[in-house]
């Protein structure tokens, strides 16, 4: 076999701590290596051209590139060798950047390690066989999970692009956090005026099926052909009949139900519609508070409802939706600030969260847009904002910046002054993070035009004094301790992953970071893709994001889906399992263990044999390690290929071979 080896410098990234010329020289001595060289930037145009030229000049059968992680550029180089006429699986990569030059300081050891890694790649390549991808059909429907602004944008873009969309929202209405906001930065325009029409579009779009009050139960299949089971949670109201007239909510005698939409600063009725602009505008019953359901009394709503929509005995229902791609847009939730005992730990009624403040500010909120203290309904004079609560704080395991709270705090300070011209606002901050168009100007306006007093320092404690609160912080610029007497304290609580996000990730088989935010395929190059083909990300489920970024990501995810669906057939990955009929004894062990049900039993001249359904096989290789006969082999990761790598690393010869 004639193998070509290319050792990449990656500028100084690799060459800085690895003697690349030496590596090329050493690897060049291996028996099957016909050509070995180092190259400045293997992935660049001249780099790729060099590879193609070498394949032609030296009549190579396969290529090894020792450079960065294959998780980044393997597809790139596969295309390169294909352009030179080789099969794309006659290519191997050795990771001498992430696994060598970036983590080892000693050049000599690094160089030796790089030689070893390149050598195992060569060993593997000697066992590689050409593989041909098959084509399969695509179901051009897409599911969007989460109906916040990011999910809405993605759903609308996909639907406008002609795709059938299934939108699944956990709560009774779409809109997400944005629906709860009063105004939005940096323009301070009304949130519902921007979001409202989009929500209506969702409701009216012929291509969109909306399941509100629903969650994903399970996900089967693979890109192009997923099957998603969606659990529609019981609402106790038949939504096909309910017209959203609201009669029931007016008369329901159970008025102490938790009002989640209003962030618990108010209560609502047991049967309720989240808010007047809710989509879908349908009533649902909170079974915990319904007197009929808990005590078998009342039944008022059933009697009243003009369309006879009430169903006290409604059960959860599961529907199966076949789709070809999935966009996760499950957003974020707020940090539980009651973990801060020094801020009262939830004991002080006038120490509230920023999102509660949005509901107070909102004209359609429980206080009809008049700023009043939750405790006594009085208008506050001094309003203190505390930033970075549950963000940038290692002691509560939230070391990251939530990104948008500096901005919304400035917004809320401005709005406070607008609502209450006699008020005085104070903002305790550590840094102001406002990197966007018109963002910094915005926070400056809060100070310069609206008189917000910004104090650089954290707050150590808040405690009541009479009917006020003493906020004790530091002014680190002045180098002093400071105290403010506040009537109302608003905590700019940070964002964390939505509740249940990791659970959903496991169903979707995508990765998440230690905080529950979903991992993109590559931070810079593939920001809305995941490592699972056909699953995309939009909005703050990937990390805290403001509305402009969430919307941009929603559109980006939609364009990725539209791009994927622009082909009628997809190429399957040929790295699937394959059965050697002669060796298979039909024991069925592989059938039992395959997590995807990709192996079936067939009859071969009267004998049972295993057969792999190639489109279903995901290429995990579990079957290969299971088969007692070595009969089922995962292509490109066969026993012999892996053993060749092991062999290359070990001094002694192998004891047994599988063949």
């Amino acid at each position: 076999m004639k193998i070509g080896v290319f050792i990449c410098h990656c500028g100084s990234n690799i060459a800085g701590t690895v003697d690349v010329a030496k590596v090329a020289e050493e690897v060049g001595k291996l028996p099957d290596v016909a050509y070995s060289t180092d190259t400045m930037y293997a992935c660049s145009e001249p780099g790729q051209e060099g590879i193609i030229q070498a394949i032609k000049d030296h009549n190579l059968d396969g290529v090894v590139v020792a450079s960065c992680t294959p998780r980044m550029h393997e597809p790139t180089f596969r295309r390169t060798v294909e352009r030179a006429g080789l099969n794309r699986y006659m290519f191997e990569m050795a990771n001498i950047r992430e696994h060598v030059s970036w983590i080892g300081k000693d050049k000599e050891s690094n160089t030796q390690k790089a030689v070893d890694l390149a050598s195992i790649a060569v060993a593997k390549l000697t066992q590689d066989r050409p593989l041909i991808a098959k084509k399969f059909g695509v179901n051009k429907r897409v599911m969007v999970i989460g109906g916040g602004v990011a999910g809405i944008q993605a759903a609308l873009d996909c639907a406008d692009g002609g795709l059938e969309v299934v939108l699944v929202e956990k709560t009774a209405t779409i809109g997400g956090k944005m629906a709860k906001l009063d105004k939005t930065f940096p323009t301070v325009d009304c949130s519902s005026c921007i979001l409202g029409p989009k929500m209506v579009d969702v409701a009216q779009h012929p291509n969109i099926t909306l399941y509100a009050n629903a969650e994903v139960d399970s996900v089967k299949g693979y890109v192009g052909n997923f099957e998603v089971a969606v659990k529609k949670k019981a609402t106790y109201v038949d939504w096909t009949a309910c017209t959203g007239c609201g009669l029931c909510t007016e008369k329901c005698p159970s008025k102490k139900a938790t009002d989640y939409f209003n962030e618990k600063i108010a209560t609502t009725t047991a049967i309720s519609i989240a808010f007047p602009q809710a989509i879908p505008k349908k009533a649902s019953i909170d079974p915990e508070y319904c007197i009929k359901i808990t005590k078998d009394k009342c039944g008022v709503c059933e009697k009243l409802c003009p369309t006879k929509a009430i169903r006290y005995d409604m059960q959860d229902e599961t529907v199966i939706e076949p789709v070809g791609a999935i966009i996760a847009a499950t957003g974020y939730d707020l940090f539980d600030y009651t973990r801060y005992g020094e801020y009262g730990g939830g004991r002080y009624p006038d120490v509230i969260t920023s999102l509660q403040y949005e509901r107070i500010l909102s004209a359609s909120g429980p206080m009809a847009g008049h700023i009043k203290r939750p405790s006594d309904g009085k208008e506050p004079k001094n309003v203190v904002f505390v930033q970075c609560v549950g963000s940038r704080d290692k002691s509560v395991d939230r070391p990251y910046c939530s990104g948008f709270c500096c901005m919304y705090t400035a917004k809320q300070a401005i709005q406070t002054k607008d609502h209450l011209p006699d008020s005085q606002t104070y903002v305790f901050y550590m840094d102001i993070r406002a990197p966007g168009k018109m963002y910094d100007e915005f926070t400056r306006r809060a100070m310069e035009e609206y008189g917000a007093r910004y104090i650089r320092g954290r707050v150590a404690m808040i405690y009541p004094k009479g009917d006020k609160y003493i906020v004790r912080g530091a002014d680190t610029l002045a180098g002093t301790q400071v105290e403010v007497e506040a009537d109302l304290v608003v905590l700019a609580v940070g964002a964390e992953a939505a509740k249940g996000a990791s659970n959903l990730a496991e169903k979707l088989r995508i990765s998440y970071d230690k905080y529950g935010f979903y991992m993109e395929s590559h931070v810079k190059l593939r920001p809305v893709e995941t490592n699972t083909a056909g699953v995309f990300l939009a909005g703050s489920c990937q990390g805290p994001k403001d509305i402009p970024s969430s919307v941009a990501q929603g559109s980006a995810a939609a364009s990725k889906v539209l791009g994927l669906f622009s082909k009628d057939e997809l190429e399957s990955d040929p790295q699937v399992a394959s059965v050697d009929i002669k060796r298979c004894v039909g024991c069925g062990k592989c059938i039992e263990t395959c997590p995807f049900g990709a192996i079936e039993e067939t009859d071969f001249r009267g004998e049972p044999k295993a057969n792999v359904i190639e489109t279903v096989c995901q290429g995990c290789g579990v079957c290969t390690s299971t088969c007692p006969q070595g009969a089922i082999q995962l292509q490109h990761f066969t026993d012999n290929q892996i053993l060749a790598e092991v062999n290359a690393l070990c001094q002694q010869p192998l004891v047994t071979s599988f063949e």
Binding site: G104, P595, L643, C650, P653, V655
Partner: protein, 154 residues
Amino acid sequence: MSAAPGNELRIIGFLCNWCSYGGADTAGVGRMTQPTDLRIIRVPCSGRIDPLFVLKALVNGADGVLVSGCHPRDCHYAEGNFYARRRLEVLKRFLQVLGIDERRFEYTWVSASEGQRWQEVVQKFTERIHELGPAPKITPDQMAMAETMAAQPR
């Protein structure tokens, strides 16, 4: 931290592509310095790791073998890591029978975001192998036994 050049021991890592290989990449991107002894072989899933690979490596001169996959419940292939775990547990007992110090073999879980965890895993395992020192040569008896085991249906 890393063994002096020339003093390295042979440590082989089998890492699943989705989680641990990604975790090792993340450690690299974060420039998290590690000892240089370890060489990584990439496999699609920890479920692909045949205990025989580990056995062969140890019998043929590796001083340590580290297997790392996705966290339980977090497997890219749903449950491959669950199979891996079962098999590798059995392997540990095999090693004892063979007279190979089972501390030379370890399996662990590291996710793609856990660069720092990966760094710690490599650090600790390498330290352990250095404490154990170079693996003693495998005797012909052991070799024969390994061969018998390798030939056993799994």
